[in-house]
Subunit: 322 residues, 2 copies
């Protein structure tokens, strides 16, 4: 029997349930929804951080706990929904030291304060691996929630920041080269203290300007492909938003800056499509917004033409089990 | 630095957040609540099952997945709240076989159907250990929700079934003695296919007859102590509801049947207190209800007097990290 990738596993499990009854947001959006009425949905998201695969050397346990919260908040950000409460399920290898628990509690508390939400409960377990599962709960008006499948021909494709910082920073953490720590503090910071774009996501949703949205936690390329696929459109990029520090870092280490920016992941920017007539106004409200391409009827999928160069944007990104 | 027990960890983490803002149900009830209005609360519960500590040999992965759901449903049952939707976060050791994922999906689907709730989303991750975190979401009228802290002097203490079956069954699974499998099928079944008392819990809540309630997942003794402590009352038992098969099994293996029934855990009966004038009526609605004691003003804690014998009921039960 063949080994499965993460996305194949998700597909197998969701297929099991998708057929039974319809769910309002489908099984493949960033969050799940429970309709309370035609005007209100309960929004739920769970995101599990695992020590052996999600916490690089050089990241403290407090930072890991904070990052676990950021990952869940980021999915709410992409939908423009404020998370009101968080639940926390923790697995810890025995024996458990007091300091470990204090550090986890501090990291969780720090993130909860940053994004103005409340930790209301949880569960603790013994496990062979550090596991921090963060569950977010919020309320949304269905009309304001920005789905993945709303991109339309002619829409502007935009992002809330530049890319590649987390994956470059992760390489610095893994290599432990002191010179890089000193030279690229911003990259190290991006990997250790990532930020979710909650305020930006809520503004984009409330202004009804975004036609589709996703976060970039699995990489820019993957996010663009998800929007293209869900919306059944083509996306054509005319720039790849590589962060300046990533360019320098890549040059120094003979890496591809495009590879870092397109496929790195663990980054929590928003990738959105916007009605062209609304872009200028939204740019005023969310100054970090940056145009990177346009939605086209076809070809399906994602392509990029930078100057005269045609770049293949593959449907791959960061995933477990590979 | 000293190693921590599971309850110390929970206390440390909850203390970190308990001080910040008040939560409607407190941090130590079976579920957590988010007030939507004065008449409606969103109820959330997360319960994590871990392969190395929660899945005994002889339990299939499909049974483990089903049991993970039952554990979360049981907390809803104890509060008398119907869970509407479930989220599932899964951690799996690589490489992942198709059959593993199919079995997990089947177990989850089976439990969701048994308790009439819908799986609406989730997350999948690579981990060193099998992890299945089940999140339940439901709605409750605050007045109907049965808390842990409502027991009053004079109330009847009652349970929805007999005890010790799961812990005896667990011993059979672990020992792998074929004769016991053949002789005690009911005990093996209790360990492999536990049931949550959702219908009973909802009836008890809707009838406003139960003054406090908790499930017995950490053991009968622990549950009684939790009610006594939260309600600041004493509980005096006049019988320990040991299952008949557990008596036989204990006798044959020279074990203490009382020990199995009081401290076994992994059992999902409800432990409730009921206004004395309501007991007969409730017994008609929930025939499995069985009186086991009475709530007294003092002494605080839990004691038992079976015939002429005084039995110490310790505040211990099943927990990780010991």
């Amino acid at each position: 029997m063949k080994d499965l990738t993460e996305r194949e596993i998700i597909r197998m499990i969701t297929n099991q349930f998708a057929g039974e009854r319809r769910v309002p947001l489908g099984f493949s959006d960033d969050v799940s929804a429970i309709p309370l009425s035609s005007k209100t949905w309960i929004i739920v998201k769970t995101d599990m951080l695992v020590g052996s695969t999600d916490v690089p050397p050089g990241m403290t346990i407090q930072e890991a706990a904070r990052k676990a919260v950021v990952a869940t908040i980021s999915d709410f950000a992409a939908k423009g929904v404020k998370p009101q409460a968080l639940m926390v399920s923790i697995g810890l290898p025995a024996p458990v030291k007091k300091k470990t628990v204090q550090d986890i509690a501090r990291g969780l508390g720090q993130a909860a304060r940053e994004y103005g939400c409340k930790i209301i409960g949880g569960d603790t377990n013994q496990a062979d691996d550090l596991v921090i599962d963060i569950i977010g709960v919020g309320l949304a008006k269905p009309k304001e929630l920005v789905r993945r499948d709303g991109a339309r021909t002619g829409d502007v494709v935009a992002v809330t920041g530049s890319f590649g910082k987390s994956s470059a920073g992760l390489r610095i953490l893994m290599s432990r080269q002191k010179t890089d720590f000193a030279k690229y503090p911003l990259l190290v910071r991006a990997a250790r203290l990532p930020k979710a774009r909650l305020t930006q996501g809520i503004i984009l949703a409330k202004s009804h300007g975004a036609s589709s949205s996703i976060d970039s936690s699995d990489g820019l390329a993957w996010s663009l492909h998800q929007i293209a696929q869900a919306s059944m459109v083509g996306i054509n990029l005319y720039t790849i938003p590589v962060a300046a520090e990533v360019e320098s870092f890549a040059k120094e280490h003979r890496l591809s800056a495009l590879e870092l920016a397109l496929y790195g992941g663990e980054e929590y920017e928003l990738v959105v499509t916007i009605r062209p007539e609304r872009f200028r106004n939204l740019k005023r409200l969310v100054p970090s917004l940056r145009r990177i391409g346009i939605v086209e009827k076809e070809p399906f999928g994602v392509s990029a033409r930078i100057g005269r160069q045609q770049i293949v944007v593959e449907a791959r990104g960061w995933q477990h089990f590979t």
